[in-house]
C-alpha cells in the first residue's frame, strides 16, 4: 500500500493508524479504538463504538443503540444511502445486515471509492436491514469466519431447531436457557422464537436492549427475568441471556435447565465442548466463507484489505484468486472464538 501511494504521490484515502482507520483529507476516523475528534461508527458493538470521541456519526437506526450504550455524547444520525460531505470527501452508510442499524461506510474522493464493512452477513435476519453490495475500488473486509469450514445452514432451519429444542424442554417442564450476545443475536433469536411454546424471559441486559430496539422491530412478548419471578413460572419457559451471564446466581433458580448457545463458533465441536452447553446452534451474524467471497466479488473491487478474523489465510487465498489483498492490524479482535471478550458472535 505504501509503495503504491508513493508512486501516485498521494496518501491512500484511508490509512490504518494507531487510533483507527483514518481519512486524512476529511480528518475523520472510522470505528476508532482511541479517542478522536470525529468518528463515523458502523454499528453499536463495543469494539466498534467506543468511549471518548468528540463527535459521533452513525446510521439513524443505530442512534438509540449508541445513546443507550454511550450515554450523553455528541451524536448525529444519517439515513442509509444518504451522501454527506466532510471536507470535500463524500461519505455514506449502507446496510451491512450484521445487527440492527449496522452499516458499511462508503468513502469517495476524486473518483476513488473505498468501502469499510465493519461487520456483515449476507442472510436476511429479519431484524436488521439486509446487506447491500456496494461497488468500490478498495474493500476493507472483516473475515471473522474466513475459513472454508464455515458454511452456514439456512437460518430458517436453525430457528426451527431452536424452537424444537425449546418445545422438548417445555414438555419436560424444564427451562431452556438460550445464550446470545445482547445486541444483535438476542434480537434475532427473539424475533424467531415461537411464543406459542411458552413464556419468554429476558436477562436484564437483553431486556434493556430489546426495549431500545422495540420501536423499530416487532418482537414476541417478553417478560423480564428479575428477583420477583416465581421459579415455578420458569418451568417450560425460555430464558434469553448473554453468554457472559452463564453460570450466574440467577441460574440457581432453575431446576435442571437445558442450555443452548447460538454462535458461528458452535460449528466446532471443541468450542462447543469447552463451553459445556447442552446444545450449540450454528447461527452467526458474520458472513461465512462463501458469503465473504460472494460479497467481495459483488463489489467489483481490485484491492481487499482484511482486518479482523483469519486475516492472513484469507488474504493469501484472495491473492491466489487474483485480488490485490493485504492484511492490516486493527483493534477489532476476532481471532478468538469471542466467548469471553466483548466482541460479537
Amino acid at each position: 500500500m505504501y509503495l503504491e501511494a508513493v508512486k501516485k504521490k498521494k496518501p491512500p484515502l484511508l490509512q490504518f493508524s494507531s487510533r483507527g482507520i483514518y481519512c486524512a483529507v476529511a480528518d475523520v476516523y472510522l470505528d476508532p479504538w482511541r479517542p478522536v475528534p470525529k468518528a463515523l461508527i458502523t454499528h453499536g458493538h463495543a469494539d466498534h463504538a467506543r468511549w471518548g470521541h468528540g463527535q459521533y456519526i452513525c446510521t439513524e437506526a443505530s442512534l438509540p443503540i449508541l445513546k443507550h450504550r454511550l450515554g450523553n455524547i455528541q451524536l448525529s444520525g444519517r439515513p442509509y444511502g444518504d451522501r454527506f460531505l466532510v471536507n470535500g470527501v463524500q461519505f455514506s452508510f449502507h446496510p451491512a445486515g450484521h445487527v440492527l442499524g449496522s452499516a458499511q461506510i462508503r468513502v469517495e474522493y476524486q473518483g476513488e471509492v473505498w468501502v469499510f464493512t465493519g461487520d456483515y452477513k449476507l442472510e436476511n435476519d429479519g431484524v436488521s436491514t439486509p446487506f447491500e453490495p456496494i461497488r468500490c475500488h478498495t474493500f476493507i473486509s472483516e473475515c471473522t469466519f474466513g475459513l472454508p469450514v464455515f458454511d452456514w445452514q439456512n437460518p430458517t432451519e436453525i430457528h426451527s431447531q431452536i424452537n424444537h429444542w425449546w418445545a422438548a424442554q417445555n414438555s419436560d417442564k424444564r427451562s431452556a436457557v438460550l445464550m446470545g450476545y445482547s445486541l444483535g443475536k438476542a434480537q434475532r433469536l427473539l424475533k424467531h422464537l415461537d411464543p406459542n411454546i411458552g413464556p419468554i424471559y429476558t436477562h436484564s441486559s437483553i431486556t434493556a436492549m430489546t426495549e431500545v430496539t422495540s420501536a423499530q422491530v416487532d418482537f414476541p412478548k417478553t417478560l423480564a427475568l428479575n428477583k420477583e419471578v416465581d421459579k415455578n413460572d420458569l418451568k417450560g419457559a425460555l430464558i434469553l441471556a448473554p453468554p457472559a451471564a452463564a453460570g450466574g446466581a440467577w441460574m440457581k433458580k432453575l431446576s435442571n435447565p437445558s442450555t443452548g448457545y447460538a454462535s458461528g463458533w458452535m460449528s466446532f465441536r471443541g468450542a462447543r465442548r469447552r463451553r459445556g452447553f447442552d446444545r450449540g446452534f450454528v447461527l452467526s451474524d458474520h458472513a461465512d466463507w462463501k458469503g465473504l467471497l460472494k460479497a467481495i466479488k459483488a463489489t467489483g473491487c481490485e484491492k481487499v484489505i482484511t482486518t479482523h478474523g483469519y486475516t492472513h489465510l484469507f488474504a493469501q487465498y484472495l491473492r491466489e484468486q487474483g485480488y490485490d489483498a493485504i492484511t492490516e492490524k486493527t483493534a477489532f479482535e476476532a481471532e478468538t472464538p469471542a466467548e469471553e471478550t466483548s466482541t460479537t458472535l
Binding site: 475459513l147 466446532f268 465441536r269 471443541g270 469447552r274 459445556g276 489465510l313 493469501q316 491466489e320 478468538t336
Partner: protein
C-alpha cells in the same frame, strides 16, 4: 449408519453421564445386533485397521472441496481434528441420502484395504458425497479413530448391562481380549460365550487413583499393604490348559514379544493368572524404562535383543489359582497364596520376582520408604487395602498410587501450537526453552497443567505476541515463565538440548518471574542421576 450417527450426535451434545448411558442403552436395544457389536468394538478401541492414509484423506477432501492444499492444512490445524475438518469443508448436499448399515460400511472399509488407490478414492469420495456432515464425521472417525465422545469403557459397559440385563462385572470380563466382530457374533461374545474362547481371556485390570491429601488422616497403616510402584509396563500372565498368554493393560496380546516368560509356563500350575509389572532387567537390577521401551518398539524379538535387554515380571497379585477366580477374595488371602506359589518356584533362573511388602507400622515408615524410590528404581509407592477385592477398572478407595515428587525447572515459553479436541482453536500446545549462555534452547514440549482460564490467557498472549509463523506453529516473544515438572531425565543425542525428560507438564505459571530468572540448561543437567 443413520442410527449410529444419531448416537454420536447425542453423545456429543451432552456432558451428563446419565444422558449418555440412556442414549447408549437405547441404541443397543434398537440397533441390529451386528451394528451394536461394531459399535462396542469402536468404543473399546477395536476399530478395523485404516484402509487409507490420512494424507490421502486430506488430499481427496481438499480437491473435492476445491480448496488449495495449504489452506486445507491450515484449516485442519485450526479445527484440530481431521474427521471434523473434512465433515465441515466438504460441500454440503441437503439431498444426501445414504442407506447402508454401520456394519456393511465397516465391512466395505475392511475390503477396501486390498483395493487399488483409484478404487479407494472412488469409494471414499462417493461415500462422502452421499453423507450428511454428521454421518461424514462419524464415517471419518471410524477410519481415523479417536471419537472423543466422553464414553469410557466403563460407561459403555454400564449401558450394555442395562440393555442386556446382565451384570456389569460379567460383561466387562466378556469384553476383554482381542475379539473382532469379523470372527465372533454378538451372541457368542456377550450372551453365550464359548468356553474355548475363554482360555486366553484376561481379567479386567484394576487401576489405582492418585493419592488424595486427606488419606493419612482417615486411614490407619495397619489396614494397608505398602509396595513400591514399579516403573515398567503393567501386564497379566495367564497359564491355562498348557498354553500361556501375556496381556498389556491396553488389552494387547504380547505373548510373542516376551518369550522370556516361557520358563515360567513350564513351572507354574495350570489355571494360574498373575498381575504384575513387566520390567527391563539388566546386570541383576531393574533398568530404566527407556530400555523396556526400546525393546517394545521392535517388531521381532531377536535372541540378541533378549540377551541385551532381558525382562522380568514383578508379580504382585494372584487373580486365578487352580482355575478358580480369586478376585472377590480379600487381598490378604490372594497375597498368602501368591507368596506360597512364589516360594515354591523361587528360582533365580526364573524371570520373576515377588514385589515385596514394605514393613510399615506407621505412615512415617511409608514416607521414609518413598524417599528411597530412586535407589529402588521405582516411581514411588502403591497403597493397597488389605481387605480389598480385586476390582474392575479405575475405582476409588482401595488402591492408591503415591508417586515420588517430580523434578521441576523454570522455563520460558517460546513456541505455541493449537490444541486438539476440547482445546481446538486455542493455542495450548507449548514449547519451552532454557538458557544456554545468552540463548534460549528448546528442552521440552508440554500440553497440560493449566486451568481453562489460564489457557485462554496464554492463548491471548500468543495471538498478540506472535513474532513468526511456521505453518501451524507460532513463535512468540519470550516473556512468560512456567514451572515445568517431569518424571525422569536422561542424556539424549536425539534432542538439541542433549537431554530427554519424561512426561513433562506445566506445574504452574510463574507470573512472579521474568525470563532472566528462568533456569539454564546447566541447571537441568545437574538433575541427571
Amino acid at each position: 449408519m443413520k442410527l449410529f450417527a444419531a448416537l454420536v450426535e447425542t453423545l456429543d451434545q451432552t456432558t451428563k453421564t446419565n444422558t449418555k448411558v440412556a442414549a447408549l442403552k437405547n441404541y443397543f436395544l434398537k440397533a441390529p445386533k451386528q451394528d451394536a457389536l461394531w459399535t462396542i468394538a469402536l468404543l473399546s478401541h477395536r476399530r478395523p485397521s485404516r484402509p487409507i492414509t490420512t494424507t490421502q484423506m486430506r488430499a481427496w477432501a481438499a480437491r473435492e472441496a476445491k480448496v488449495p492444499d495449504w489452506l486445507f492444512e491450515e484449516t485442519y490445524h485450526i479445527v484440530g481434528d481431521l474427521a471434523e475438518t473434512i465433515a465441515l469443508i466438504y460441500p454440503s448436499n441437503p439431498e444426501a441420502e445414504l442407506n447402508r448399515s454401520l456394519s456393511a460400511i465397516i465391512e466395505d472399509l475392511i475390503e477396501l484395504k486390498s483395493k487399488t488407490d483409484e478404487q479407494k478414492e472412488a469409494f471414499i469420495c462417493q461415500m462422502w458425497s452421499q453423507q450428511s456432515a454428521l454421518e461424514r464425521f462419524a464415517f471419518n472417525k471410524i477410519m481415523t479413530g479417536g471419537f472423543r465422545l466422553g464414553v469410557s469403557q466403563k460407561l459403555m459397559t454400564r449401558a450394555l448391562s442395562q440393555a442386556l440385563d446382565l451384570e456389569e462385572q460379567t460383561l466387562a470380563h466378556r469384553l476383554m481380549g482381542d475379539w473382532s466382530p469379523q470372527t465372533i457374533s454378538f451372541e457368542e461374545l456377550l450372551i453365550k460365550p464359548n468356553p474355548k474362547d475363554q482360555l486366553s481371556k484376561p481379567y479386567p485390570f484394576y487401576l489405582a487413583y492418585a493419592l488424595e491429601d486427606s488419606f493419612f488422616d482417615q486411614e490407619s497403616a495397619d489396614d494397608w499393604f505398602v509396595e513400591h510402584k514399579w516403573d515398567g509396563m503393567r501386564g497379566q500372565l495367564i497359564f491355562r490348559s498348557g498354553e500361556w498368554f501375556c496381556w498389556s493393560r491396553g488389552e494387547e496380546l504380547m505373548t510373542s514379544k516376551f518369550p522370556d516368560f516361557n520358563p515360567l509356563a513350564e513351572k507354574l500350575p495350570q489355571g494360574t493368572v498373575l498381575d504384575g509389572e513387566i520390567l527391563a532387567f539388566t546386570d541383576g537390577q531393574i533398568a530404566d524404562f527407556s530400555l523396556l521401551q526400546k525393546r517394545m518398539n521392535r517388531k521381532n524379538v531377536s535372541l540378541k535383543l533378549r540377551t541385551e535387554i532381558p525382562v522380568i515380571f514383578g508379580v504382585y497379585d494372584l487373580l486365578e489359582f487352580e482355575g478358580e477366580d480369586l478376585r472377590h477374595r480379600p487381598l490378604t488371602y490372594r497375597r498368602t497364596l501368591l507368596e506360597e506359589l512364589f516360594q515354591k518356584n523361587n528360582d533365580p533362573q526364573l524371570p520373576w520376582f515377588l514385589s515385596e511388602i514394605v514393613p510399615c507400622s506407621r505412615w512415617d515408615d511409608a514416607k521414609k520408604e518413598r524417599e528411597k524410590a530412586v535407589e529402588k528404581r521405582s516411581e514411588g509407592l502403591m497403597l493397597k487395602r488389605k481387605s480389598s477385592p480385586y476390582g474392575v477398572g479405575r475405582k476409588k478407595g482401595d488402591w492408591w498410587k503415591w508417586k515420588s515428587d517430580p523434578f521441576t525447572i523454570d522455563a520460558v515459553l517460546t513456541y505455541a501450537m493449537r490444541g486438539h479436541g476440547r482445546r481446538s482453536n486455542l493455542f495450548t500446545d507449548y514449547t519451552f526453552a532454557l538458557w544456554d549462555n545468552k540463548e534460549l534452547v528448546t528442552f521440552a514440549k508440554a500440553y497440560s497443567g493449566l486451568t481453562d482460564a489460564e489457557m485462554k490467557e496464554v492463548d491471548r498472549f500468543v495471538k498478540q505476541n506472535t513474532t513468526d509463523r511456521f505453518g501451524p506453529v507460532r513463535q512468540v516473544k519470550p516473556e512468560l515463565v512456567f514451572e515445568i515438572a517431569f518424571e525422569g531425565i536422561a542424556h539424549s543425542s536425539r534432542h538439541k538440548s542433549g537431554v530427554a525428560v519424561r512426561f513433562p507438564r506445566i506445574l504452574r505459571w510463574r507470573k512472579d518471574k521474568s525470563i532472566d530468572m528462568a533456569n539454564s540448561l546447566e541447571d537441568l543437567k545437574t538433575l541427571i542421576p
